[in-house]
Assembly symmetry: C2
Homo-oligomer: 166 residues x 2
């Protein structure tokens, strides 16, 4: 089995946000999200069991998909991708919190969802969310995972299934 085959799949770069207990917003980076149906609109995202955001989505039943653009601040990826929100307020360093769901301000679009189904695997949960809101914030090319690796020279967090040991 050639694991390099997995690196040929194309992804975007996202921050998936949710509410922690007590109404504190939190989130983590993700590269995998896909629209599953158009009518009603649903979105699937995949989150590692070890990510604090996973339990926050399970508890709150909600998540938002924040779509980063090529010109979104790289700081966002560092803040949301390489620290845990369990004991750290990622939003304090970052963006505005909108009232309906925590969303990251410096993204090109966000889609808010109510969880309607989940699929479990050994290490990750796939959440299926029915879209409750969607907004385009700015015109910028969506950041692809390839762009993140090749242009920004970013790395994969260890919890990502696409992480490859160096």
């Amino acid at each position: 089995m050639d694991y390099m085959a997995f690196t040929k799949m194309s992804y975007g770069v996202y921050v998936v946000t949710s509410w922690a207990d007590g109404g504190r917003p939190t989130g983590c980076t993700a590269n995998s999200a896909m629209q599953v149906t158009s009518e009603p609109a649903t979105i699937a995202v995949r989150i590692n069991h070890d990510n604090f955001t996973n339990e926050c989505i399970k508890n709150s039943g909600m998540f938002a998909l924040n779509i980063l653009g090529e010109n979104s601040k790289p700081l966002i990826i560092g803040t949301f991708g390489f620290r845990s929100g369990r004991d750290f307020d990622k939003f304090a360093e970052a963006p505005e919190v909108k009232s309906f769901l925590p969303v990251v301000d410096d993204c090109i679009a966000h889609i808010t969802c109510k969880v309607i189904d989940t699929m479990e695997s050994e290490t990750h949960t796939v959440f299926l969310g029915e879209v409750t809101g969607a907004e385009v914030l700015k015109e910028d090319a969506p950041m692809t995972y390839a762009y993140y690796h090749n242009v920004i020279k970013g790395k994969s967090p260890k919890n990502a299934p696409t992480y490859i040991k160096e």
Copy 2:
């Protein structure tokens, strides 16, 4: 709700293949696939209920994800994306069939999977497959869905959730 937000998600371009009854290979195009876990490696793909490939995957319990490159023949997308395999042998026009699972020859990599879980939605099934084989076939940039739209000027089949009425 601004449906344009959905167009900001990044995807690749794939042909998902499987066995039809009687051992005939078939398949359809897809833009959504994601690795869910790395150990054991699993892949999720999303296929419309109306696609013949959906029932073939359910019946055979297997699928292969064929990853197209920027230089893969556009004919493949036409053959697999805009006709039904129900009464048409897509492989007759196209590629070699390998013995372990139908795979499209002119792709940059393929990943073969055994279905281990499914998640249903109104119009599409998300299949979770445990990887049984993975192979890189050639060096070429993976075709992104944006490249397909912007450079090849391709359209979305009507069964794709990303299809937008003109």
